[in-house]
């Protein structure tokens, strides 16, 4: 699975690989119709409607003109197809623009201007400053004499800062003019989507260099859609083109997510379908019996003596068609419209705009807003999600001395002073280390070892450094001369840093102090960074460098080998000090978590941090109530047995506390124990996950995050994952709802997510306001759609009993079609503006979300209520109509129109009664719809050829028509109103109670207000370490804690080996 790219070879590459034509299109002109139709008909509802529409073409059985189904069906299909087509056309335009962009390349040794789509593999492409990279290039030369260039990769990973790219060492020093003629071969992997790896190597042909193999990494590439910045020009050879570029491979069509509400609607639709079949069978049998007993005696009907073979099927099929309106064809359109409006409301919300950056929230997935209101578990990342991801250098411990205090802002300067005085020798390496750390702040490494070479001088030129990662996941090797200017620009960034886990391999008396320091800082919730150095001798360095190079150019298993090589250097360190960095909580995080926890949402924190830091953060942001209410139980252990025992203990404790009191139990688990628990003790762990409202998982990998989401999803919980970084992407995609924070770690998470917000605190508004309203509105909208369909269908069924069970439709085609598509769909659409409670009330009583979580507004029993209501209303309309329009007035067209009018009037009042807040739009829609109904029917009634000619005019002149309407409305609505009133007053739901108090200024609102807490500083609010004392004293960490500092150190030391073995195994 490799590809060989011959640089500058015009003849070879053309045929083998695709050209650089980018295509994001789903369809072509030819396959659009079949492909789109196929996709639409893969849904059950559409298949059903198509079947009905086809059956209607058989004139023997169709009760109405086939247009009554074909019309709406074609309309619905046309709407969604044209939406698809429009999207696809826009994609085509964008592609075209990108494809036709003019690019300088080298052909036959001459520079030429061609269109981007004609670039072939192996072509040399020249770019100028601020050009967009047209395909994946391997850098060959830049304007910079050192071979650097800068790119902005925002389109690829969302990170806006400039990244450095360098030319491969092989191309170093090649003259600009010679770059035209360069020849060689690049061996690289087949196209893949990993934007962080490019494990390839290159051989240049003579005369440029000998057949030496040079390693290539992602650092040597310019990827499609990046921009060249701050570099006059750069050139590179195309290695991946068209849709095979890294960006092209990354594009994928996400699986559509199905909300709980949708699933419920599907289930109800299924039930309705079964009901419909039952009705059809019963009526079909009744119809056939009537036909044989009575029908043949009706001479005026002229039943033939001998019918065709399918005679018995005719009447059931007629009823099937008559009852097909039971499943409303309009529901999908209505829901889609409503959902896109919910999404728009999220986009528009000015209260969810980050005031600092101006980033607005965005609903990328329009279809799942209701699920926000039904979230039961929130899985959150820590860094950058709960915290600001703005690292502030707070404290440090250097050579056994502690620096920094509560207000540790001027710390850096102070340390400098102290240090110069006391340890003049030490100052430089420490600073260099800190600066280097700052330089690499972006990289999420856990341990960071920096070795300075002999050449380290004050100007910091020629500095070789590399970092290795405890987990070996990421290894960075950086060689070259860093410009002093770049460092200073980093300083301005205020030491944004990642932390390091101390591995104290060194022996010596100093170690204890540092271990204590690390422990102490961690307890303050600070991230700790252990800095160590070792002097390298020239030959040792050279030896190592060559090994490193070799490891780095392997194509197979590169990471592991590099890690192994790096490990060789990680010994005999002299510890310089421990630095502690504060990552402050974002504004409003504790309040948000408290409100959401009150709303019955369970929080899990999944972080890569170490346990103590994670627990401190958890305490400070209200994850767990402080003692004595809250308890933290730790699951740990290195072996299977230990983990198992620990898990059992925790489970037992949780069961006891859960059953007897309202104690707040949280369990803490680290990645190692989690791995074992998920692998071998899945059942008890699942039980624990269900019992415990809170969990803190530390040292977890991205895939473990995703596994935990999967675990909760399997238990049938609605999960929401929120994160900000690339390591959260898998979790975000796995969860029912993914929320990305457009933060400092780039937009990667936000891009993968269904919703992106600027700050964590917007989550409460997203869930409590938008999610809740969406759920409530959809619950009403969907059930109402069924109600109105049932209403008209029941009338048809009743009518069949007085029409000889022969399957006559009372209503004509126009009325039926307009009823479903227009009269009853328009007013209810405006219920998307309905608000049952004000946003303030919801925020004050977040518990009201329980009703949404448990699906109390849309479930089989509420549906049964609507079903009963439609049955009752159908009886009212039918009985009143046939009695007041009896005898000489029983003209078919008039009776039908009276019944339809009755339905329209009733449904207007039903919508009005179910509306909680009337804006001007709702009034317009509800009452305007009535006017519209009459207007339309007057128009239809004035067409002489229509069956309804003059009917509406005649009816409107009759006093009895209006009297009948009033009677229908009063008879239909009075019992509904009476029941609703009784329930509202004497058995109010929680929503009702809050409505009452909200609108009458009742006492509830004045009492339960949650005062926004003043922002708690980490240092102050944290109680002593006794807070997370494990409940059971025999737990290993308990003994550890009580045994004092010496023991503690042991534990720290003993913790590291399993970690490293674990991770090595991983690779």
């Amino acid at each position: 699975m490799k590809r060989y790219v011959y640089i500058n070879d015009d003849n070879l590459a053309k045929d083998i690989y695709c050209d650089n034509r980018i295509s994001n299109r789903k369809y072509t002109i030819l396959n659009f119709l079949p492909k789109n139709l196929w996709e639409q008909f893969s849904r059950f509802m559409n298949q059903y409607f198509l079947l009905i529409a086809c059956l209607q073409l058989w004139s023997l059985i169709t009760p109405v003109n086939p247009a009554s189904t074909w019309g709406p069906l074609i309309l619905i299909f046309a709407v969604s197809s044209s939406k698809e087509a429009w999207d696809d056309y826009n994609r085509y335009l964008l592609d075209k623009k990108a494809n036709e962009k003019e690019i300088w390349i080298v052909r036959q040794g001459i520079r030429k201007l061609i269109q981007a789509q004609d670039i072939c593999i192996g072509n040399i492409v020249w770019l100028r400053e601020n050009d967009e990279v047209p395909c994946d290039l391997l850098l060959l030369g830049t304007a910079d004499p050192q071979g650097f260039c800068y790119v902005e990769t925002a389109a690829l990973d969302g990170e806006t800062d400039l990244k450095t790219r360098s030319i491969p060492s092989a191309c170093m020093g090649i003259d600009v003019d010679l770059l035209h003629k360069i020849k060689g071969v690049i061996e690289c992997p087949s196209p893949n989507k990993d934007i962080r790896r490019f494990d390839a190597n290159m051989r240049l042909f003579p005369p440029f260099l000998d057949n030496d193999i040079f390693p290539l990494t992602i650092k040597n590439t310019l990827l499609q859609s990046c921009y060249l910045r701050n570099t006059e020009w750069a050139c590179g050879v195309a290695v991946y083109t068209g849709n095979q570029t890294k960006l092209g491979m990354c594009r994928g069509i996400a699986e559509p997510k199905l909300t709980a509400v949708d699933a419920m609607i599907d289930k109800l639709t299924g039930a309705v379908f079964v009901f419909q079949i039952v009705v059809v069978i019963v009526l079909g049998i009744a119809g056939n019996v009537f036909k044989d007993k009575q029908g043949r005696k009706l001479w005026y009907v002229q039943y033939p003596k001998e019918g065709p073979w399918y005679e018995l099927l005719v009447i059931p099929l007629r009823f099937e068609l008559l009852c097909s309106i039971m499943i409303p064809i309009s529901i999908k359109v209505s829901l889609d419209l409503a959902k896109s409006l919910y999404a728009k409301f999220i986009d528009w919300d000015v209260e969810m705009v980050d005031p600092e950056t101006g980033i607005r929230s965005n609903a990328a997935n329009q279809a799942i807003s209701e699920d926000l209101g039904q979230v039961e578990y929130i899985l959150t990342d820590k860094t950058g999600t709960l915290t600001e991801n703005k690292m502030i250098f707070k404290r440090c411990c250097i050579s056994g001395r502690f620096y920094g205090n509560e207000s540790g802002d001027a710390l850096t300067a102070k340390v400098g002073q102290f240090h110069t005085r006391h340890y003049p020798k030490m100052k430089k390496p420490l600073y260099v280390l800190l600066l280097v750390c700052a330089w690499f702040w972006r990289i999420k490494t856990e341990i960071f070892l920096i070795l300075t070479s002999m050449h380290l001088q004050c100007n910091m030129k020629y500095l070789t450094l590399w970092s290795s990662h405890l987990t070996g996941k990421e290894c960075l090797w950086w060689l070259g001369n860093a410009k002093a200017g770049n460092f200073s620009s980093c300083q301005k960034e205020q030491m944004k840093l990642f932390f390091l886990l101390p591995i104290l391999i060194v022996s010596g008396q100093q170690v204890r102090t540092f271990a204590e320091a690390v422990e102490q800082y961690a307890q303050m919730g600070l991230r700790t960074l252990c800095l160590a150095w070792r002097k390298l001798e020239e030959d040792e360095y050279q030896e190592w460098t060559s090994m490193f190079k070799e490891a780095n150019s392997t194509l197979v298993d590169r990471e592991r080998r590099v890690a192994e090589v790096c490990q060789r250097l990680e010994r005999d360190f002299e510890i310089l000090g421990v630095a502690a960095i504060e990552d402050r909580l974002q504004e409003g995080v504790p309040e948000t978590i408290e409100i959401l926890r009150k709303a019955g949402i369970n929080f899990w924190m999944l972080t890569g941090d170490k346990m103590s830091t994670a627990i401190q953060i958890a305490l400070s942001c209200n994850f767990v109530s402080p003692e004595p209410k809250g308890q933290i139980l730790i699951i740990d252990g290195k072996t299977e047995d230990e983990v198992c025992r620990s898990l059992d203990r925790v489970l037992l404790t949780t069961r006891i506390t859960e059953s007897e009191s309202k104690q707040d139990v949280a369990f803490v688990v680290d990645g190692w124990a989690l791995e074992i628990a998920l692998k071998h003790y899945r059942k008890p762990f699942t039980e624990l996950a269900i019992l415990s409202r809170t969990a803190i998982c530390c040292r977890v990998t991205p895939s473990q995050k995703a596994q935990l989401v999967e675990l909760l999803k399997l238990c049938d919980y609605r999960t929401l994952a929120i994160g900000d970084g690339g390591n959260d992407v898998r979790m975000i995609q796995q969860a029912d709802i993914g929320v990305g924070i457009s933060g400092r770690e780039g937009l990667q998470a936000a891009r993968a997510a269904d919703y992106s917000i600027g700050k964590f605190r917007f989550l409460k508004r997203l869930i409590l306001v938008h999610g809740r309203y969406s759920y409530n509105r959809t619950a009403f909208l969907s059930q109402y759609s069924f109600y109105k369909s049932f209403l008209i269908c029941f009338i048809q069924i009743f009518f069949s009993f007085i029409s000889g069970v022969s399957g006559t439709s009372l209503f004509n085609t126009v009325s039926l079609m307009a009823y479903n598509v227009f009269y009853t769909s328009v007013p209810v659409l405006f219920s998307v503006l309905d608000k049952d409670l004000s946003e303030r009330t919801v925020m004050q009583h977040p518990q009201i979300l329980f009703d949404c979580q448990s699906g109390r507004l849309l479930n089989p029993s509420t549906f049964a209520g609507w079903f009963g209501r439609s049955l009752f209303h159908a009886i009212v309309v039918f009985v009143i109509t046939i009695h007041s329009y009896a005898f000489e007035k029983s003209v078919m067209e008039e009776v039908a129109m009276v019944a339809v009018s009755g339905c329209i009037w009733l449904q207007a009042f039903v919508v009005a009664l179910e509306t909680n807040s009337f804006t001007i739009f709702q009034h317009l829609a509800i009452w305007g719809n009535l006017v519209g109904f009459y207007a339309i029917n007057w128009i239809v009634s004035s067409i002489p050829t229509s069956g309804m000619y003059t009917i509406m005019f005649r009816l409107c002149e009759q006093p009895s028509y209006w009297i009948t309407m009033i009677l229908i409305v009063a008879t239909g609505m009075c019992p509904v109103l009476a029941l609703k009133y009784l329930r509202y007053t004497y058995r109010p739901s929680r929503i009702n109670l809050l409505q009452q108090s909200e609108r009458l200024g009742g006492p509830i609102l004045s009492s339960g207000i949650i005062e926004p807490k003043s922002r708690s500083s980490l240092d102050k609010d944290i109680p002593t370490d006794s807070v997370y004392e494990p409940l059971l004293s025999e737990s290993p960490s308990a003994t550890r804690r009580s045994a004092g500092p010496t023991q503690r150190l042991d534990s720290v030391q003993s913790q590291s080996p399993p970690h490293s073995t674990h991770t090595r195994k991983d690779n």
Binding site: Q294, L298, W299, Y300, V301, D349, V350, E351, V353, P355, G358, R360, F799, S803, G804, S806, L810, L833, K835, R840, Q847, F850, S861, I880, H883, Y885, A886, F887, E888, K889, S890, V891, A896, N916, F918, T919, I920, P944, T945, S960, I963, T964, L967, A970, T971, L977, A978, Y981, Y984, T985, R987, R990, L993, L994, Q995, Q996, S997, G1002, I1004, S1007
Partner: protein
């Protein structure tokens, strides 16, 4: 009752404006619609409102009910069921046989006028258990053919009464074929009572649904004879009995206008009816009735609306009283926090 004022959004908007926007940061436009803060009326069901509504309904409904009932009672209606009586007693064992035979079917009936009847007096025939709304029947007509002279061949939906050997039937279809053919003649005190058969159908039907130049063809020429025949030289738009019949009824019991008597009838007048009992309702045990009726602003005699109004009005009054009593006996403060429980599984619902 109005609330829903914007809360803290103004402050949030203000502070955000000061910072320069960054990537994808086009600030959403502020409007009350986009922020879902449109002024809204939020009514709630207070006892006052609900009891008031029910009282209001009863206050409106009871008078309307009384008025409707009076209107219905004012209508004078003579109903004479004749389908059995018009068969000689000896032949009642085989009614179908009788009606299909060639015997004379003339029958004499005497009606007493119970009250003074003001003209116009409508003469209806009423059929019971006749399914004009049967699916096979109701579709068996061709509006095209009825309207246009040129659409003779448009007999698609008319099966099985669409064509004869001599060409298409006009008017085709089962409805026309089964045209009612009993006839009535009225005398009072041995004086002929004129029954006007003009304008008994809808004007719109005569003008737009039945063509002036469409004439019957091949009608009732087939082997199977249905109901009445039509005068061959009269255009369909003037065949009012056909037009009335073809306005199909939605119910199996229906009345159709036969004609109008345009003189007043006095109380205790005796009216002799000479009727031709031709129409076969015996096969399916349908009833035939002759109805003479005056009319009111609500139409014919129909107590249903009045009774329904009185019932609904009375029930609403009763409900209002009950609610008022409950309210007085067991007052309950709306929005009482003591009822607000956050227990996750309340017994309610």
């Amino acid at each position: 009752m109005n609330s829903g004022t914007p809360s803290s959004s103004a402050a949030g908007a203000g502070s955000a404006d000061s910072t320069a926007p960054r990537r994808n940061s086009k600030r959403p436009k502020y409007s009350r619609f986009t922020q879902q803060e449109l002024p809204a009326c939020k009514p709630i069901l207070t006892p006052k409102w609900v009891i008031g509504t029910f009282l209001l309904v009863s206050v409106i409904f009871i008078p309307i009910g009384v008025v409707s009932l009076f209107a219905s009672r004012d209508v004078v209606e003579i109903v004479d069921r004749y389908e059995t009586d018009c068969i000689p007693e000896a032949l009642r064992n085989d009614k179908v046989g009788f009606i299909q035979s060639d015997r004379s079917k003339t029958c004499q009936r005497t009606l007493r006028v119970p009250k003074n009847m003001k003209q116009p007096i409508y003469v209806y025939y009423q059929l019971d258990n006749f399914y004009q709304n049967h699916r096979r029947y109701v579709k068996s007509r061709s509006d095209q053919q009825l309207r246009n002279n040129g659409s003779l061949q448009d007999t698609g939906p008319c099966k099985p009464e669409d064509n004869t050997a001599g060409g298409p039937i006009v008017p085709c279809g089962l409805i026309a074929w089964s045209l009612f053919n009993d006839t009535y003649g009225f005398t009072r005190n041995n004086q002929q009572l004129n029954v006007s058969k003009r304008d008994i159908s809808w004007k719109s039907d005569r003008e737009h649904k039945f063509g002036k130049n469409v004439f019957p063809r091949n009608f009732q020429n087939g082997t199977l004879r249905g109901g009445a025949t039509l005068k061959p030289n009269v255009s369909l738009s003037e065949q009012e009995d056909l037009i009335v019949w073809m306005r199909t009824a939605a119910l199996p019991t229906f009345r159709k206008l036969y004609g109008k008597i345009e003189v007043d009838l006095q109380r205790d007048d005796f009216i002799n009816v000479t009727l031709e009992n031709n129409y076969n309702t015996y096969s399916f045990s349908g009833k035939k009735k002759l109805v003479l009726s005056t009319t009111s602003w609500l139409g014919g005699k129909n107590d249903f609306v009045g009774i329904a109004y009185l019932t609904v009005g009375g029930l609403c009054f009763f409900l209002a009283l009950v609610f008022l009593l409950i309210y007085l006996i067991k007052p309950r403060q709306l929005g009482d926090p003591s009822y607000l429980s956050w227990n996750r599984n309340p017994s309610g619902h």
